[in-house]
């Protein structure tokens, strides 16, 4: 009986499965494991971070591999869900609040604090990331026309 997937809340199993994507990212990040993080995306998935746009699992993997060797080396990532909606039974939008922690930090600096949209899709029974995008949570872009 799978008759509970009709509203935007989704089934509890799907809710948890989508939320599990965040746990997989936390774990992959702790291991600085670009392969594991990239594997969460669909083949043609996209990732947008401030100043970064990558399309395709391979390009995401390449970016993360480089980042884990440099600016993200030894860092951790943390976050909590703010919202979860099912647009269709096979497409979910997860909004999170979190960021990257430098070694020795237990909470994000203001500059690193982000909100993110995770667009998850069900492919062959598995929830994958079709798109991930984040933006700084605590500041807006400069007023247009100012520097």
């Amino acid at each position: 009986m799978t008759t509970t997937e009709t509203d935007s809340a989704g089934t509890q199993a799907d809710q948890a499965a989508v939320a599990a994507l965040t746990q997989r990212v936390v774990a992959a990040w702790a291991y600085n494991d670009a392969d594991a993080f990239a594997a969460l995306f669909t083949e043609d998935g996209t990732m947008i971070l401030p100043g970064v746009y990558k399309k395709g699992r391979a390009a995401i993997n390449e970016f993360l591999t480089e980042a884990y060797a440099n600016q993200y080396k030894g860092t951790q990532v943390t976050g909590r869900p703010l919202d979860l909606r099912f647009v269709t039974p096979d497409v979910a939008l997860l909004i999170t609040y979190g960021g990257v922690l430098a070694a020795g930090e237990s909470t994000m600096s203001d500059e690193q604090t982000i909100r993110a949209t995770w667009t998850a899709v069900r492919q062959d029974g598995q929830w994958k990331l079709a798109a991930y995008q984040n933006s700084p949570a605590l500041r807006q872009l400069p007023v247009p026309g100012t520097k």
């Binding site: 199993a13 948890a16 499965a17 939320a19 746990q23 291991y31 020795g104 237990s106």
Partner: protein, 393 residues
């Protein structure tokens, strides 16, 4: 196994008391390095401290709760962090004693059988062939740096039905340790985070937490032991209070040791010992410590007694176990703060134990399971006839 119990307790408490000088000597190093010194861990292991809650068939002691209180209190006389780490090992090795006997064979027969863990379900588990796969991270894992196994809690998402938390022992070698223990209290406890990435756990090593909380245990061999005939939360509560009692006793012991040579600076009191204020403070702190003993011992004897006679736990009794825990940590903080306030400017030097004792007891008061307000509210709710607002009772 019943008659040597008293002798066993005395022996274990004596061994713990013998560790006090080592723990005290290593306390400053322990804080500076944010973890227990190897010498401390080895000495505790040699004394059997990590085997108090291991079944006797694996060389453990199956010590009762009164013994745990007195052993932890001794350890905390030397240093709060190793006492805390010991109590976490007792809770988690007890949890492993709930699993099928073959699982216990595996955990307790390999390595040192040292255990750690938390009750927080901060990971997600998905079913797979023959078991589950876990991803996530757990914070505050005291003892992870020298443990062989961690009892993890994760939310299992079954193919059908609602998700529910499960409990499972995992070898530390399957987890990644994140050295993020930078804290103001229990600094030496090495309470780092651990991470699971696609960790497979076979079905036989997985117990549903709701079943555990309803005392549906899977061990046949431990079913007859009074130690395992108890609910998880009263066990966790009674395993934790000894450290606070020991910290309060240590504060008093250290205060009285320094007292004869102290004056009250910028006053006419040449000796702090002569000041009536000091008499009131010492009397008050001592009476508060008596009250800590009352709550710690009432809690321990309740779990010991019910384990012995097998009477079921009423809701109010479960809530009172949490309330006793809250009272111990609150009174511990009160007595220690009082003595620290009378300890003078020199007491803030890092080699003077009372400043560390203050930070340790404040840290314990912030623990989600131990916070006095949380526990008092829970007890009050239940006394007023409301349902508890937590699973953890």
């Amino acid at each position: 196994m019943s008659t040597p119990e008293v002798a066993t307790r005395e022996e274990l408490v004596r061994r713990a008391a013998e560790l006090v000088p080592i723990l005290a000597d290593n306390a400053v190093w322990t804080e500076q390095n944010r973890r227990l010194k190897d010498e401390t861990v080895e000495a505790m292991a040699d004394a059997g401290i990590f085997r108090l809650r291991v079944p006797t068939r694996y060389g453990g002691h199956e010590a009762d709760f009164r013994t745990l209180v007195e052993v932890a209190a001794q350890l905390a006389r030397g240093d709060g962090s190793p006492a805390w780490v010991a109590s976490v090992s007792w809770i988690t090795s007890w949890m492993i004693g709930l699993f099928p006997d073959e699982v216990q064979d595996e955990v307790f027969s390999t390595g040192q059988g040292r255990t750690c863990g938390t009750l927080s379900p901060s990971a997600i588990a998905n079913p797979t062939d023959g078991g589950i796969v876990v991803n996530g991270k757990w914070g505050f894992i005291s003892g992870a740096l020298h443990s062989d196994w961690q009892v993890v809690i994760a939310v299992l998402v079954p193919a059908e039905g609602e998700p529910y938390p499960v409990m499972a022992p995992v070898p530390l070698s399957d987890l990644r340790v994140v050295d993020d223990w930078h804290a103001s209290g229990l600094k030496g406890s090495g309470s780092v985070s651990t991470v699971a990435q696609d960790v497979f756990i076979p079905t036989e090593r997985v117990l549903p937490l709701p079943a555990v909380l309803q005392e549906q245990y899977a061990s046949k061999a431990n079913a007859g032991s009074p130690v395992w005939r108890a609910p998880l939360l009263p066990v966790a509560s009674a395993s934790s209070v000894g450290t606070v009692l020991g910290l309060a006793r240590a504060a008093r012991e250290n205060f009285l040791k320094r007292l004869p040579n102290r004056k009250i600076t910028y006053t006419s009191y040449e000796s702090q010992r002569e000041a009536p204020l000091t008499h009131l403070q010492v009397a008050e702190a001592t009476m508060v410590i008596d009250r800590i003993e009352f709550h710690a011992h009432r809690l321990a004897s309740q779990v010991d007694t019910k384990g012995g006679d097998g009477t079921p736990w009423k809701l109010e009794e479960r809530a009172r176990a949490r309330a006793d825990l809250g009272a111990v940590v609150e009174l511990g903080k009160a007595s220690i703060d009082l003595l620290a306030s009378a300890s003078g400017g020199t007491s803030i030097y890092t080699d003077i134990p009372i400043q560390r004792i203050v930070r340790d007891v404040h840290a314990i008061n912030q623990h989600a399971l131990m916070h006095p307000n949380t526990n008092a509210e829970l007890y009050g709710r239940v006394l007023c006839g409301l349902e508890p607002n937590t699973l953890y009772i």
